[in-house]
């Protein structure tokens, strides 16, 4: 049993404070959804936990079984057991999936002799086309193919915790279902803990959360069970933003404005 504990996390990007004190605890096998409107700090949270360059942490801790990940470089955070499924996975020309996984295995001291078979089997399971396996990472892949690829890596690297950053953006319903089911299976098979960051309910219809948190302006403003997501579906984010003024600034709690979120 492992615990990922985010305590009092305050962080900024480009001089602007985005996270204003986040507290969250995820245990092995649990699925937590963090939902929020645009600009709430959803992607910043995942970037800060993983150590993406350009983000500055002012205070707080991210403890994985008591070890503060914020003291470690990105690659050691990954090896400690946190895996980020990216919203926009980077293209890496000239490097294919197996080559990358081979290095990721080697860096963990894992045997790579069965890797090719493991990749094939996992690709089949997640319906990632075999003829794309030797393509450069994420180059010329559709949105759905990118997320299947991200999920495939998650499944093979078997981290303790997965952070899904807008897994549901840019992919069709079949791909969403395949990815969500694979993540859910990992929560049973390898006791994976999940922090699913999302704007919409769509993902949660496939990936069933135990806990739902509402993130607004860099703070968790409400936490509850799955029923919180249902309430959000009815009331929108305005009910949580507090005040007509702020509701006016964020008109509908996000619909197609998400298309322009970068």
């Amino acid at each position: 049993m492992s615990t990922l504990e985010i305590k009092g996390l305050v962080a900024s990007v480009a001089g602007k404070q985005i996270l204003n004190g986040i507290d969250l605890v995820v245990r092995s096998g649990e699925v937590h959804a963090v939902m929020g409107p645009n600009g709430a700090g959803k992607s910043t949270l995942s970037a800060v936990v993983m150590g993406k360059p350009g983000y500055e942490v002012h205070s707080g801790q991210v403890l994985l079984d008591g070890v503060d990940l914020l003291d470690l470089p990105t690659w050691q955070r990954a090896q400690a057991g946190v895996h980020l499924v990216m919203q926009y996975p980077s293209e890496v020309p000239g490097v294919d999936l197996t080559e990358m996984l081979s290095e990721a295995y080697t860096a963990r001291g894992r045997d790579t002799s069965e890797l090719a078979e493991q990749v094939s089997a996992e690709a089949e399971r997640i319906h990632f086309p075999a003829d794309l396996l030797h393509r450069s990472l994420n180059v010329d892949l559709s949105g759905g193919e990118k997320k299947r690829n991200e999920t495939l890596q998650l499944a093979l690297l078997t981290p303790k915790f997965a952070i899904l950053d807008e897994l549901d953006s840019g992919l069709d319903i079949d791909a969403l279902r395949d990815c969500a089911r694979r993540v859910e299976a990992a929560t049973h098979d390898s006791n994976l803990g999940v922090l699913a960051i999302t704007h919409y309910n769509r993902l949660l219809e496939e990936l069933h959360p135990d806990h739902v948190h509402i993130l607004v302006k860099g703070r968790i403003v409400a936490s509850g069970g799955p029923e919180l997501a249902d309430q959000l579906e009815i009331d929108g984010y305005e009910a949580f933003t507090g005040g007509a003024e702020e509701a006016a600034a964020e008109p509908t709690g996000g619909s197609y404005d998400d298309l322009f979120a970068l």
């Binding site: 470089p73 990105t74 690659w75 990954a78 980077s90 490097v95 080559e99 990358m100 890596q153």
Partner: protein, 365 residues
């Protein structure tokens, strides 16, 4: 005491070193060259894979006469050249590459290899020219290539610069493609102190295509310097160029490329891409693309970039648990992957990839 290159040059009617003030030598290190430090000596050259080919002195003389004289190095070459000729008859297809290997091994010497390549109509073959040296010697190598691809021939050429990082290279390549021919001119430059290659690729027959590919990687105090010309003379001709380089430590590189589409070359297409990775703070790369279009109805594009390793790519790999130095190696080898794949001799790729990886081992950004 045998005479130096300076003595020889003095005898050439006032021939002088080129000036870095002239555009074609801009950014170069030519001002550092001391002709008095080198004496011309014969080079050790071996040729394999050409046993079935006959010599053709007349055609060799004709091609040598067609070579242009731009500077004192062309003049010195005319005096001291050691010629290797490769004439592949019409219709002949060679499945194995012809390999020409030059080794310069004496300190304080200069060598002038000249390679003459003629592909008969509808012939197909590959020539690899390797430039090697003894380690640590001060030497100068001044290679010349004249290559002619006859109608519908497919001629590939690969130059491998594996010289010690104390050796200077001042190369000039001239290629001509006749109707419907395809010429591939490839270069891999890993060695040399200051290593320069000028390549003039002319497409003179309708429907002819030239491709140019280069991989260059300089470290320490090396400098690689490329000047390319894609010269379209006949209608409906094609050229495509992809040059990719990296510089680390205090190394430098220069790429200057010109696409020229002449008045009669209507319906031609020309592409030029130059990408450079600067891997260290102290490293420097320059990329200067130029277009000279003298007719309409042409397709032309050029792209050039100079910059460090992409932060997003590095973060992506590190987020999978890959340590920084391994992530960087993957990104740099990946950067070169398409040019390695475009080289004419597939069997050399693993060796060249290993040589690139070995240079990366010495990299501390």
């Amino acid at each position: 005491m045998s005479s130096t290159l300076l003595d020889v040059a003095d005898g050439l009617n006032g021939a002088q070193l080129p000036s870095a003030e002239s555009e074609v030598w801009r950014y170069s290190r030519i001002a550092e060259l001391d002709l008095a430090a080198f004496r011309p000596v014969p080079l050790t050259t071996t040729v394999t894979g050409a046993d079935s080919l006959a010599a053709s002195p007349e055609r060799t003389a004709e091609l040598v006469a067609s070579m242009e004289t731009h500077d004192v190095f062309d003049e010195l070459s005319a005096v001291h050249a050691q010629t290797v000729e490769i004439h592949v008859p019409a219709g002949k297809v060679l499945t194995e590459p012809i390999v020409v290997t030059h080794v310069i091994s004496e300190d304080g010497t200069a060598a002038f290899p000249r390679l003459v390549v003629h592909g008969g109509a509808d012939s197909e073959f590959t020539v690899v020219e390797r430039f090697e040296s003894a380690p640590g010697i001060r030497a100068l190598i001044v290679p010349r290539l004249v290559l002619h691809a006859s109608q519908a021939s497919r001629v590939s050429y690969l130059a491998l610069n594996l010289l010690a990082d104390t050796v200077w290279q001042l190369g000039h390549q001239q290629a001509t493609g006749e109707r419907d021919s395809t010429t591939l001119l490839a270069t891999v430059a890993l060695g040399g102190d200051y290593a320069r290659v000028r390549t003039d690729a002319r497409v003179v027959g309708q429907g002819a295509t030239t491709k140019q590919v280069a991989l260059y990687y300089a470290d320490g105090h090396q400098m690689h310097d490329f000047r390319t010309l894609q010269d379209h003379i006949a209608p409906k001709t094609n050229s495509d160029l992809l040059f990719k380089g990296a510089v680390q430590d205090q190394a430098k590189s220069v790429y200057t490329g010109l696409i020229r589409i002449r008045e009669d070359a209507k319906g031609s297409a020309a592409y030029q891409t130059n990408r450079n990775l600067t891997l260290s703070e102290g490293a420097w790369a320059e990329s200067v693309p130029n277009l000279d279009i003298r007719t309409n109805d042409v397709k032309c594009s050029h792209a050039s970039t100079v910059g460090p390793i992409d932060d997003e790519q590095r973060f992506y790999l590190e987020s999978r648990g890959i340590p920084p130095q391994v992530a960087e190696r993957l990104v740099v080898l990946g950067f070169f992957d398409d040019v390695l794949g475009a080289l004419p001799v597939g069997s050399l790729r693993d060796d060249l990839r290993a040589r690139v990886a070995a240079k990366l081992e010495g990299w501390t950004s």
